[in-house]
């Protein structure tokens, strides 16, 4: 999800030397990733009032404002720094519009999704995982994705956060640890708990919806 870091480092170097074009490029490179992050995490109920692109714009304005300080003292890799700002902006948007952060993941789902899912998504997923039935119909994949997102939305905040970081932002364990200010073993432990809970939820849903 995040652009590769070598080029980013190069651009950061140029930015440090005052190259405005490099700053623009930096922002451009990370725009998609930030957009996806915001769209995934911004509560859907407030999206009519606060557009995703508004938040994204805020993120880059804020980043621009703090860039010099960051360039002097890069406390963490650039993309982690940027997503930290994005998360702050999202929390801020939620606070302003008084919604709990609880269900920020139900991206594009009708209100009553599970009735229409065919209970087999977990099963299909396993098939995918086993690589036995490789080219799964795109449609089923999409249903599965919706199901997974539903499940992620039901996870406790902390678990949801780490699952999104790992699987929607494709951060490594080390990056997660850095972003959360945890040791690597602690981050991996938190991830373990989240995945366990998620598995339980998926299996329970599988049973409930039948």
């Amino acid at each position: 999800m995040w652009p590769e870091s070598e080029k980013t480092e190069e651009l950061l170097g140029e930015a440090r030397e005052g190259d405005a074009e490099a700053v623009n490029k930096l922002i451009e490179r990370h725009q998609d990733a930030i957009l996806r992050l915001v769209r995934m995490r911004l509560d859907r109920r407030i999206q009519p009032r606060v557009g995703v692109s508004d938040v994204v714009q805020d993120v880059f304005i804020e980043a621009n404002r703090r860039l010099q300080k960051y360039l002097q003292d890069p406390v963490m890799p650039f993309h982690l720094w940027l997503r930290q700002i994005a998360k702050d902006r999202i929390i801020d948007a939620h606070r302003r519009h008084r919604v709990s952060k609880k269900r920020s993941v139900d991206r594009e789902q009708p209100a009553h999704l599970p009735a229409d899912m065919d209970h087999s998504s977990m099963a299909l997923a396993n098939q995918l995982v086993d690589g036995e039935v490789t080219p799964m119909a795109a449609a089923t994949q999409r249903e599965l994705a919706a199901r997974v997102e539903q499940t992620i939305a039901e996870l406790p905040e902390q678990d949801r956060d780490i699952v999104l970081m790992r699987h929607y932002e494709f951060l490594s364990n080390q990056e997660v640890a850095e972003a959360l200010g945890l040791s690597q073993p602690a981050a991996s432990m938190r991830y373990l708990r989240a995945i366990r809970r998620m598995r339980d939820l998926l299996l329970v849903e599988e049973e409930d919806s039948l």
């Binding site: 249903e143 373990l192 599988e206």
Partner: protein, 564 residues
């Protein structure tokens, strides 16, 4: 049921913490490796840490589900990242002649909108590919095939298609807007009353039969594809995977298993595309009826592989076990649809509809007629398990050779007046046992061992034990060695009877032959082992050869269909 909790959780906090910490590190390592695109590392990690292997696999399966969803999300948002998603934003949206008003459903490969057709001023449903311009060619071809196929159909039980079009290279079609709910929404509120379920299914069967008459298979019948309007009429929709019966086109060449496993016919789930026919839809209709009556599909398991194996190997729970209120006749109808051999099902959706109608009218149903010829035919025919023999064909030919050699050697020793019981005992236990191990090792290398194969292996193993025990029995009864040899034939006869039940009725022949050899062996004790060796070897060689050839033929078929 909580498989994912650690084995020792709760017993000793200390240990489970250490255990969890190790597991957590392994999980993160494996996941990092997967992210870098090095899935192989998982195997190594599992080998190095066998105590964690099982849970690690389970957890990683979940992680990969999440990862897949994340990938999907990324792909979907890639093309429209700049302008945000076209399909989510800014409704109402004008699309040629249509004004899209609101999204009313998502599934299959498209998004369905309530829309107004401006020129005719009528409300319609518009279905579009949700991935927009990114839609792969394959997806687009399938979408258009769907639209074309359904547009040919004109039946009250099929949602009619009005118009096919493409806008900004995004294909869409409009269809009649039907107010109501899907059968799966209906089922989620609880099982339906028998009359209600059957009434709906009769309509669905008639509609599907009409499509079959017009050369179209549905291939993905399931409760969420059946709309019930406010007057109770059922409408079949989403012929998304429909394909002309006579079409051998490119669409599903890739071998993708299309459809929803929970409602799929076994031949469809097994990916035997050539065998998918109207009877596969009949099977799915039976699954739909099953789940309408019981509230759950015929097969369900925690993982797909398990579901698939259940679907391929096991009989479904009889509906009356889940809902005792179901009538016996109705259960017969459902189970007849769910027969694994295609020819034991109703031969058409119309026949199924007739039988359901007969049930509604309290008339005798055809599923009940256990005609004698039917019963005999069923006894003699191959079961759906018989295909496992294709893997065993070559091995059985070797087995017949080994058996023949052991028998001949035994008889030779006997002629040479070798009296030592030990020699015979070792030959029949260690000798044949070694072969059994070799056999099983080779079989395991050929792929996962099915449940039914384990059953047969058990029968085989028990027969070997029985034979080994004959030696001490002979000794204790103060009989000459090999005096009980005719029992070998009896044991083999029993083994073949069991195989006949599990695999194919043809093995009754082998069973009869073996049983008949026992008195013959008793009559000519000097030749007993030769008689047994030759007849036994023949009993394995003939089916072994047949199934080996069958498996070669299938491999050739597969190669042919895989050619681009």
């Amino acid at each position: 049921m909580n498989e994912s909790s650690t084995p020792d959780a709760g017993s000793e906090g200390e240990d489970s913490t250490v255990y969890d910490q190790e597991l957590a590190e392994l999980l993160s390592l494996a996941e990092d490796a997967l992210q870098r695109g090095e899935p192989r590392e998982l195997e190594e990690l599992c080998q190095q840490h066998p105590e964690h292997a099982e849970e690690l696999r389970l957890l990683l399966a979940t992680a990969r589900v999440a990862e897949m969803a994340g990938d999907q999300y990324r792909q979907e948002s890639r093309g429209d990242a700049k302008g945000a998603t076209q399909l989510e934003l800014s409704l109402p949206l004008y699309l040629g002649d249509y004004e899209l008003i609101e999204e009313i459903g998502r599934g299959g490969m498209g998004v369905v909108f309530r829309a107004r057709q401006v020129s005719l001023d009528r409300e319609v449903a518009v279905k579009m590919i949700s991935r927009g311009p990114l839609a792969s060619d394959q997806e687009r071809v399938r979408f258009q095939a769907e639209a074309r196929a359904v547009a040919q159909l004109d039946h009250p039980g099929i949602v009619p298609v009005y118009d096919v079009g493409e806008l900004d290279s995004r294909p869409f079609f409009s269809m009649k807007l039907i107010e109501g709910e899907t059968l799966s929404q209906r089922i989620s509120r609880g099982p339906l009353a028998a009359e209600e379920a059957v009434g709906l299914l009769v309509q669905v069967c008639r509609a599907v039969d009409y499509a079959h008459q017009n050369g179209l298979l549905h291939r993905d019948l399931k409760p969420s594809n059946i709309l019930i309007d406010d007057s109770g009429q059922a409408h079949v929709m989403d012929f998304g995977l429909a394909k002309r019966i006579d079409d051998t086109g490119e669409l599903t060449r890739s071998g993708a298993v299309l459809g929803t496993p929970a409602y799929m016919a076994p031949e469809q789930a097994a990916g035997h595309r050539g065998e998918v026919s109207a009877a596969s839809d009949v099977y799915s209709l039976g699954s739909v009826l099953y789940s309408a009556l019981t509230g759950r599909p015929p097969f369900q398991a925690a993982t797909a592989v398990d579901t698939l194996l259940l679907l391929l190997e096991q009989e479904p729970l009889p509906p009356r076990v889940l809902n005792p209120g179901i009538d016996r006749d109705l259960e017969m109808i459902v189970l007849r649809c769910l027969q694994k051999p295609v020819d034991l099902r109703y031969s058409s959706a119309a026949q199924l509809a007739d039988d359901l109608q007969a049930y509604l009218n309290d008339e005798p149903i055809s599923a009940r007629s256990g005609r004698f010829a039917h019963v005999v035919a069923r006894w003699l025919k191959e079961t759906h398990h018989a295909t496992v023999l294709e893997k065993w064909g070559l091995l059985w030919m070797w087995h017949s050779l080994v058996l023949l050699l052991v028998c001949m050697l035994t008889n030779l020793l006997h002629w040479k007046d070798v009296e030592s019981r030990w020699i015979y005992f070792i030959l029949w236990t260690v000798g044949l046992g070694t072969w059994a191990v070799v056999f099983w090792t080779i079989r395991r290398r050929m792929g996962p061992v099915l449940f039914v194969e384990r059953q047969i292996a058990h029968v085989w193993a028990s027969s070997m034990v029985a034979i080994a025990v004959l030696f001490p029995v002979e000794y204790l009864l103060k009989l000459e060695v090999l005096e009980l040899a005719p029992v070998l034939a009896l044991v083999s006869g029993m083994v073949f009877t069991i195989k006949a039940g599990i695999l194919t009725g043809k093995f009754y022949t082998q069973a009869i032959v073996m049983f008949a050899m026992a008195p013959l062996m008793a009559r000519f004790p000097e030749w007993a082992l030769v008689i047994f060796g030759v007849s036994g070897a023949g009993c394995f060689l003939i089916p072994g050869w047949k199934y080996h050839r069958q498996s070669l033929g299938r491999a050739a078929d597969r190669r042919r269909t895989d050619q681009p």
